[in-house]
């Protein structure tokens, strides 16, 4: 269905105007005239239509166009024109399509009372007849380069004769580089000689010889040399008619009998056909959006057909599964940067890497191509043996040798112990399965060995990193001791020295049993111990901070001056006389990796809490602190909010 874009008032007017033309079998013929959007095309349209069973069917002339002088003068204009007719929603009759992309030099002339603006750009033009939504009769699609409103060069031109959508007789497609001329049978099958001439290289040509859709040979003339490419399967019992497209060219690759395969995907034939198909696709998109149309030119060819039976389908599924598993393993190792480094120093790792590499190259790559044929749907267009030979011109060797490096003793080659159980003879699907199985089992044999090597290597690297961090932490601790020991009170320095002696013992314990787990634990401990050391070194400054926080400037009415008054002395003295000595004592007596964080946390939160308490009503707390000398009880008191019961 399509939709109209216009106002209701306008629609009402149209209905009134059009009722008198209405029509057949109670259907109402109407016309529309106004702005219209069709996919990416926005313009003005005029067309007739019918309403039938709530469906809108296009009926009668159709015209839609757009061009803008403003846009052209400003920068560039994309113009278009579609004109033709519909019958019962099918495009029918003579049709014309124009697509322009123009710039102007903004120079105007007045000629015969008209303003003229010269334009340059590209104009596409297609015209021909349509029957029931299919091209019929001669169709010409032309792309011209326009300079100063005149055709300067033909960039593309195709002339095809259709009969109800089926290409007939002869056709010609040309672009600036090549010209293709060919013939069709009445049923659209390629026939006789299709010739492709290069307009750039004189004397260079390609001739494709078809017989009722079957390609017999290709004759290539290049630089005065003639090459013939022959194809098998020309006498196949069953054939299948398919479109001449990229998939067909791949099929031809399989069907070639030359010892030296010519890559037909590089032939100029296909791009030219594809370009043509692209232009027809554009028309098809427009017409299909409007009504019912099938506008693609279908150039038909015949290929041999060897349909897969259910057993073969199963075998192919199995092959695909094995391939997927094997590919997973090989991709993992081949893309492992860690293995890339390890193989430089570890000969065995290198040997196994080479095994994986060889299997990937010699086994998996052809198998992948094999499965790709199946995916592309062209596996059935060639005989099994032919496909096998194309993909495995040489059977992969079961014994995989490691390339010997200079100055390094030769490594043993790799072969599965049960290699004899795999039968690589024959050219059937089963042989491919045998090859895939061998590849998979080989990879599965290598996998655990390599994985272990990798993880060991990973552990060693991890340990090295951890040890470096440990050394850094130890260094940081030593530096802290050096820096602060002169300025800190004696008790503080002693606590710091104790921390150092604890970590020294832990470090010597670790060096006798180096492993990642204890290294991680020790690193954590070191970090915590460093935090404790920093916290102790910070104590004198914190005391000053607390003292300052708990000092009030009080106006003394007798002296008429301001005096510093220590407030809430019970809190500050509990901190100075009980808590700080407790921190130092705990550090010196029973600090350990297990409880160090707790102590650091306690010091931190208590300090923060004391600063908070300055501004809180602490009458009750101060009363409770009066005779309290137990640090734990004091901490407990501090953490209780005073306003809570």
């Amino acid at each position: 269905m399509h939709y109209f874009t216009r106002t209701n008032a306008f629609r009402a007017a149209l209905v009134v105007l059009c009722t008198q033309f209405c029509g057949v079998y109670g259907q109402e013929q109407r016309t529309y005239s106004g702005p219209y959007q069709l996919g990416k095309y926005k313009g003005d349209a005029n067309f007739g239509y019918l309403i039938s069973d709530q469906d809108t069917l296009l009926q009668g002339d159709f015209k839609m166009q757009r061009s803008s002088l403003d846009a052209l003068l400003a920068k560039e204009d994309n113009s278009f024109l579609f004109s033709g007719a519909f019958e019962n929603d099918y495009p029918t009759g003579n049709w014309k399509f124009e697509f322009g992309e123009f710039q102007s030099d903004k120079q105007t002339q007045v000629v015969d009372y008209q303003y003229r603006v010269l334009v340059s750009g590209v104009q596409e033009e297609a015209k021909g007849k349509v029957v029931k939504g299919r091209p019929d009769g001669p169709w010409i699609y032309e792309v011209n380069r326009i300079a100063d409103s005149e055709v300067a060069e033909t960039l593309f031109k195709s002339s095809i004769l259709f009969d109800k959508g089926i290409p007939q007789q002869s056709f010609q497609i040309e672009n600036t580089e090549n010209t293709l001329v060919g013939r069709f049978l009445r049923d659209g099958l390629a026939h006789d000689e299709w010739s492709l001439f290069s307009s750039e290289e004189i004397g260079s040509s390609e001739s494709w010889i078809f017989k009722e859709g079957v390609l017999l040979r290709i004759q290539i003339e290049k630089e005065g040399k003639s090459t013939d490419i022959n194809f098998t399967g020309n006498n196949a019992k069953t054939t299948k008619t398919i479109n001449l497209d990229a998939a067909y060219l791949k099929t031809l690759h399989l069907l070639q009998t030359n010892t030296e395969t010519v890559d037909l995907s590089k032939s100029n034939m296909e791009p030219l056909l594809a370009e043509n198909a692209g232009y027809y696709q554009k028309l098809d998109t427009i017409l299909s959006q409007l009504g019912k149309a099938t506008f693609l030119p279908e150039f038909k060819v015949k290929v041999p057909y060897y349909p897969l039976d259910s057993l073969e389908n199963e075998t192919l599924d199995k092959l695909a599964e094995q391939y997927k598993m094997a590919k997973g393993i090989s991709d993992f190792f081949l893309s492992s940067s860690q293995l890339g480094i390890l193989k430089l120093s570890d000969a065995e790792a290198n040997r196994l890497y080479e095994v994986v590499h060889t299997i990937s190259k010699e086994y998996l790559h052809p198998l992948g191509a094999f499965l790709a044929l199946k995916e592309a749907g062209i596996y059935e267009y060639a005989a099994r043996a032919q496909v096998f030979q194309k993909l495995f011109p040489q059977l992969p060797s079961k014994e995989i040798k490691t390339p010997q490096k200079e100055g390094v003793s030769a490594m043993p080659s790799f072969v599965l112990p049960n290699a004899d159980a795999y039968d690589f003879t024959g050219t059937s699907l089963n042989t491919a399965v045998q090859i895939a199985s061998y590849a998979l089992e080989s990879l599965q044999t290598v996998e655990p060995v390599l994985s272990k090597k990798l993880s060991k290597n990973k552990r060693e690297q991890e340990l090295r990193v951890l040890e470096e961090q440990l050394i850094a932490e130890n260094h940081a601790l030593e530096q802290l001791l050096d820096t602060v020991s002169n300025t800190l009170p004696n008790a503080h320095t002693k606590a710091l020295e104790h921390i150092k002696s604890v970590t020294d013992i832990k470090l010597s314990e670790f060096s006798s049993a180096e492993d990642v787990v204890s290294a991680k634990a020790l690193l954590e401990c070191y970090k915590s111990m460093n935090n404790l050391a920093k916290a102790i070194a910070a104590l004198p400054n914190q005391s000053v901070e607390i003292e300052e926080t708990y000092t009030d400037r009080v106006w003394n009415p007798f002296m008429a001056n301001l005096m510093d008054e220590e407030v809430k002395k019970r809190i500050t003295s509990a901190y100075k006389k009980v808590l700080v000595p407790y921190y130092l004592k705990s550090t010196q007596e029973d600090v350990d990796c297990g409880n160090v964080n707790e102590l650091v946390q306690l010091m931190h939160t208590t300090h923060e809490r004391i600063l908070e308490l300055r501004d809180e009503d602490t009458t009750k707390l101060e009363r409770k602190l009066r005779r309290e000398n137990d640090p734990k009880a004091i901490v407990a008191l501090f953490n209780v909010k005073e306003d809570q019961p």
Partner: protein
Amino acid sequence: MKPINTGIIALLVVFFFRMVPMMAQEETEGVFLPTESEFKDPKTKVWFNTYGKIRISKRFFWDAQTHFRFQETKETPFIGQLAQIYNRHALAYIYSKKVNFSLGGVVRVNFNTDEDSEDRNVVPEFRIWHQYQFAQALYSAMIYHRIRIEHRWTQGFAEDSEYIFRNRWRYLFRAKVPLNNHKLEPSTLYVSPEAELIMQSGKQVVGSVMEDLRLTTTLGYILTPRLTVAAGLMYSHGQTFDNPGVFNQNWTLRFHMYFSPDFRKVRNKLPAIHLND
């Protein structure tokens, strides 16, 4: 100037005034002026004074002073017996850290210390007073100027004694010089020389306008910002009420306690506890 020097000078001033011979007074009606000023023998007194300045808001404090004043008697020389209990109260306004004003009343209970007297033992005395105090920093010391004006109703111990009204005009100059510190703060010992001249006027005051000249040296110690103790010796002399030609002399030992609590709630103290500093 070093603080110690200021103290010494203050003491010298005390002795200087002591030595100056008094000018002869004019003879008044009914009273025979002596040809030369007559100085009575000095009396000794001991005062125990408490001074409270209780902060009640950002700008106000309550001034509460209670003094116990002893005076020598024939029976008990030196410390003597309780002569006055003195209650001085006022509402004080803090204009700035250095300037404040007070207005209040005094109820003084006077005890008759004359053991031979047949008169009443106790009589009350009332005053209305206002005061203007200015302070300024001088090097490490502080100096203070205090103007105090009192309106005073007194009566004698005699049964039929009537109240007489007098005005008192008082100017006090005082310095506080820290001795062991560079400023006045807790744990500081200071010396405070002071001189106060008390003049009086009133219908009944005829001739005896200089009621008292007090010269004092005090040694104080600041315990906390809110508590200070001090002790000092005061020499004072002035014209007797009855005869301008006759001068009383006193030696007074004074003990002081200064306290300044702040009963405001924490949340009220927080926003503007320090006035303008």
